[in-house]
């Protein structure tokens, strides 16, 4: 019986887990670094424990502190979220050793999959197609291009594409350093790099009694720097036959390691339907909401129930409609995806019908890590929120999601919002041609260009100036009721400045009369 869950994570995924806990009457414990002291996830939890410092290595990667926090706060279970220690078998074991419930697969399953090199071997033995693994020290010209990957990694951290042998040593060094910093393990390996592929993954859910569900595929081919940006289900390239093959492979993979809980088996596919096993993510995925929308399941609730030993029904629910998720990032795609950061002044997405939950009927779901006033620093992943559109058809989901994003008020920093809207409205996307080369093929020049044209920018600057004046009038302690900028004799124009992105826009406003 789980009564209080500590989420060893931050941001939107912590809030996501808390939502389910609240719905199940389970208490919640947050941990927060100093950089996250003002984050909504801290405020929302029943209890919160500070992790001094801000660097991940000092905070969210400190298994000892996390377990101490769980004890101090009276938690009896730990949910790792994604990233950080979510796929760290030692942490999972430490949680169990502390007498707490681990909401995730058994440490052995994590360990089996944690090493990507070993995992591929295991899968190959189970008859799942895999890409050959290359020894970083023995890569030849004919192997190029290759992808350097962190063995313990995920989420694109530590990944490098190498096209010439000369680049390889530096790429290996950088990948090792990044892997060590992000996952605490510098091991890297190489595999052939498929230039134009499709990233497909299958959500599996396994109970401790031998039932393994495949909940269908997600396509996550639209990525920047191996970081997914747009994820959807079903994939426009997957037909029933391919779906059957992928599901069978995924279920086989899960069974091969006695998997328990929610997991994801990732594949790289070509448009012709050939595919290879990439890795298994032994945790909840960032993009799990699209699967939740079409299946109506609450995957976190399922994790909790499985952790408590409950059985899954024999067959999973039938999916309904299509769901697309986009990740809203505090980054500027037009400037090489540079993280922006700052303070979120205003965050509002119109038409949201559910938060951290499946909408009661097709609509917009929002899983946000930020709220009005949340500071967004450089310490962590710059994802602000996930916005999910769910509709009877893929076209409707894309249109609805694009409209919600275009109408969103995200003030205070540059984001990738405009890129997301342009992507969702792009004919190539709508035609389902969403391979990994999508952004390079269409070009960021087009996709990242601002939705607001010069007229909108000028009007926005005017609106900002007028709103500023109105605010100052409202807050004036004397004469606030008089007309703004009133003069009985003409005076020089008042000047003000408005900053948009990095550019200053100054304008003069004529003052009465």
């Amino acid at each position: 019986m789980i009564t209080r869950v500590l989420v060893a994570n931050r941001g939107e995924i912590a809030r996501r887990v808390f939502r389910t806990c609240r719905d199940l009457g389970i208490g919640t414990v947050a941990v927060y670094s100093d950089a996250d002291a003002d984050s909504p996830h801290r405020a929302e939890a029943d209890r919160a424990v500070r992790l001094p410092g801000s660097a991940p290595a000092d905070t969210y990667l400190r298994a000892d502190l996390l377990i101490a926090a769980a004890r101090a706060a009276g938690a009896d279970a730990v949910h790792p979220g994604y990233g950080f220690l979510s796929e760290n078998a030692e942490f999972a074991q430490a949680v169990l050793d502390a007498g707490l419930t681990w909401i995730g697969p058994p440490p052995a399953a994590i360990a089996a999959m944690g090493s990507k090199v070993a995992a591929k071997k295991l899968m190959a033995d189970a008859g799942v197609p895999v890409l050959p693994e290359l020894d970083p020290g023995a890569v030849a010209d004919s192997d190029l291009p290759v992808l350097v990957k962190a063995s313990a990694g995920g989420g694109g951290r530590g990944m490098r594409v190498v096209r010439t042998l000369a680049e390889l040593p530096a790429a290996l060094d950088a990948a090792r350093a990044e892997a060590a910093s992000a996952f605490g393990d510098p091991t890297v390996f190489c595999e052939p790099y498929i230039e134009v592929g499709r990233h497909l993954e299958v959500q599996v859910l396994a109970d401790a009694h031998g039932t393994v569900w495949s909940l269908g595929e997600r396509e996550c081919s639209l990525q920047r720097r191996h970081q997914k940006i747009v994820e959807e289900t079903p994939s426009p390239m997957v037909d029933d036959r391919l779906r059957g093959e992928l599901s069978a492979a995924a279920v086989a993979a899960a069974k091969a390691i006695d998997y328990v809980g929610a997991g994801t088996v990732e594949f790289l596919a070509r448009n012709d339907g050939s595919f290879w096993f990439l890795e298994t993510n032994t945790r909840l995925q960032v993009e799990h909401p699209v699967t939740e929308c079409v299946t109506g399941l609450d995957l976190v609730a399922a994790q909790l129930r499985i952790a408590a030993g409950e059985r899954l029904p024999a067959a999973p629910p039938e999916p309904r409609g299509a769901a697309i998720e986009v990740r809203l990032y505090a980054e500027d795609p037009a400037r090489d995806w540079r993280p922006t950061g700052g303070t979120v002044r205003r965050f509002a997405v119109p038409g949201v019908t559910a938060e951290f939950d499946v909408p009661p009927r097709p609509g917009i779901r929002l899983d946000a890590g930020v709220a009005d006033g949340t500071p967004v620093g450089m310490a962590y992943d710059p994802m602000l929120a996930k916005v999910i559109g769910w509709a009877p058809t893929r076209e409707e989901a894309a249109a609805r999601l694009a409209a919600a994003l275009a109408g969103a008020r995200v003030h205070g920093m540059t984001t990738n919002r405009d890129l997301l809207v342009r992507t969702l409205r792009h004919p190539e996307f709508l035609a389902g041609r969403t391979d990994t080369a999508f952004f390079d093929r269409i070009g960021l020049g087009q996709l990242a260009s601002p939705l607001a044209g010069p007229d909108e920018v000028r009007l926005a600057a005017l609106a900002a100036a007028l709103a500023g004046a109105a605010t100052r009038r409202r807050d004036a302690r004397v004469l606030g009721g008089l007309p703004s900028g009133w003069r009985n004799v003409p005076s020089p124009a008042a000047a003000g400045g408005v900053r948009r992105g990095g550019a200053d826009r100054r304008g003069g406003l004529p003052v009465h009369p």
Partner: protein, 537 residues
């Protein structure tokens, strides 16, 4: 609440004609204001700018809180004189760090910002406003001192400037001097007498005697920086509290000084207010060029007071004068407004009683002038019009609540006094552009002169020069007409400015708020020592 019903018809031909006349007068007014704005002319402005200096109105704009209102005072001072319109100084009431302040800025583009008699008069008026209404004073100083050719008009009375400054300080009213340029000889006492002094490094020069004078007086050779530079005063003499790196920095420091004044208004805070229910825009169509045509002041009230909510007192008694309670921008006021031009005994007594009532309740009074004066004639003299007029003037003169006067139309004769003309010290007095003020109407005055000279000719038994009389009447009428006009009166600083009728509510609201920096107390109010109760007349 009692919403006043306005009978004005904005679609009528009369309204259109009035509007046209008022807009034409406003266009003329703009042309006169433009002269003040032009300062010393394009060349002088360019020279001033070439030194990296800001114009006085630019300094003011930087000083004021963004988007706050600014009421410039006496902008037409020196109109009709040999001196530049505006009198080489800009004065006004503005908001700095949420503190209503009197701002006085020399215009160095007009003959180096030298003070002429009108500069003095305008500046002293601004200081009077500061004193009466308890408003901090911020002076933006850059003046070459006295205009030497007219020194005889300013040297002796000019001492009042420094006296007033220190008396303001003694009264607890802060005085701040931001010195941008010359402030020498007598001018050195402007920073000298101020509570807070900021000098701009490289710009301010503050000394009693410059290098030539020192050399003449003592033979000493010294440069301007040694005698009066900002750095010297900041480090050596201690005259400067702050040395600013440039003009903007001086203004920034000035704002910080005001922010630290711990300023608290002593008067009541305004109540929430609603705009009038009738458009202020219509105010240009009420008074026409022919002041002998009466208008209903309720049409004005309906467009000036909060929510057009007016409670009249004695509406059926003395109907030529409307007396009413209302609010303007949340400030309670009693209003006296002429309705038919002439003040009879009833109106005079009604006014006297109403003024006493306002003093009972600490309510400021607003006088809206459109009067040809007290009624004359056998019946009225025998009915005691002098006694009754005297009651009204007595009440106005001894009332202690703040008074505001606006000349809407005519303001002639003793009616000007009874309605709190300039000599009765209203806190503020403004005129609409078509208003007139004189001892009587130009035609009446010329006619009186004609009758008197005709009688004199008869008495002497000499023939009366009809042709000469016609010419005299025309000349006198033209002269009086010219001298009754608001620009003329404003030029002599007999009012605080000519305003666009559509700004009446804004101007009154700003003034009432400024007034509330000081306590608002009527005769005997709250102390119970008025001596008598309100006389029912």
């Amino acid at each position: 609440m009692t919403v006043v019903r306005s009978v004005l018809d904005p679609t009528s031909a009369e309204f259109a004609a009035n509007r046209e006349a008022v807009l034409a007068a406003l266009t003329e007014l703009d042309a006169e204001h433009a002269k003040a704005l032009a300062g010393g002319g394009a060349k002088a402005v360019a020279r001033h700018r070439s030194r990296g200096k800001l114009l006085p109105r630019e300094r003011i704009e930087l000083l004021l809180d963004p988007d706050s209102p600014f009421l410039e005072l006496s902008p037409l001072a020196a109109w009709g004189t040999e001196f530049a319109v505006g009198a080489s100084v800009v004065t006004g009431i503005g908001v700095v760090e949420d503190v209503e302040s009197v701002v006085i800025a020399n215009d160095p583009t007009v003959r180096g910002g030298a003070s002429n008699p009108w500069t003095l008069k305008k500046s002293l008026r601004a200081l009077q406003i500061a004193r009466e209404n308890r408003l901090p004073v911020i002076q933006l100083v850059e003046s070459g001192g006295a205009d030497l050719p007219t020194q005889k008009e300013i040297f002796i009375p000019g001492g009042q400037l420094f006296r007033d400054l220190t008396r303001l300080s003694a009264a607890g009213i802060p005085t701040i001097a931001l010195v941008f340029g010359n402030s020498t000889a007598g001018g050195a006492y402007v920073p000298g007498m101020s509570d807070h002094v900021v000098l701009v490094d490289g710009g301010a020069k503050v000394f009693l005697g410059g290098p030539p004078l020192v050399r003449m007086a003592t033979g000493e050779i010294a440069d301007e920086e040694e005698l009066g530079g900002a750095a010297m005063h900041g480090r050596v003499s201690g005259l400067a509290d702050h040395v600013a790196s440039d003009e903007q920095d001086a203004i920034r420091i000035g704002r910080r000084i005001v922010a630290r004044l711990n300023w608290r208004k002593r008067g009541p805070a305004p109540l929430p207010s609603l705009p009038p229910r009738y458009p202020e825009e219509d105010l240009v169509g009420i008074v026409g060029p022919d002041l002998s045509r009466p208008f209903d002041p309720r049409d004005v009230l309906a467009r000036v007071v909060d929510d057009s909510d007016v409670d009249e007192v004695k509406p059926r008694y003395g109907p030529s004068l409307v007396t009413a309670w209302a609010r303007i921008h949340g400030h309670p006021v009693g209003i006296l407004a002429n309705a038919q031009g002439v003040l009879f005994s009833q109106e005079a007594q009604k006014a006297a009683q109403f003024i006493q009532l306002a003093n009972q309740t600490d309510t400021p009074l607003v006088f809206l002038h459109n009067t040809t004066g007290y009624m004359v004639g056998r019946e009225y003299e025998q009915g005691g019009i002098i006694k009754h007029g005297a009651m009204m003037i007595n009440a106005v003169a001894n009332s202690r609540v703040p008074h505001l006067s606006v000349l809407l139309g005519a303001s002639y004769g003793a009616g000007h006094y009874g309605m709190c003309g300039r000599a009765y010290d209203p806190r503020f007095l403004f005129a609409w552009p078509t208003a007139k003020s004189a001892v009587m109407g130009p035609a009446q005055l010329a006619g009186v002169l004609s009758i008197v000279s005709r009688a004199a000719a008869e008495a002497r038994g000499t023939p009366f020069d009809e042709e000469g009389d016609t010419a005299m009447r025309a000349a006198v009428e033209a002269q009086i007409e010219a001298e009754s006009l608001p620009a003329f009166l404003s030029g002599r600083v007999y009012d605080d400015g000519v305003i666009d009728p559509r700004d009446t509510r804004t101007v009154l609201g700003l003034c009432l708020s400024a007034i509330a920096n000081g306590p608002i107390e009527g005769v005997g109010s709250g102390r119970g020592d008025a001596g008598f109760g309100v006389f029912r007349m």
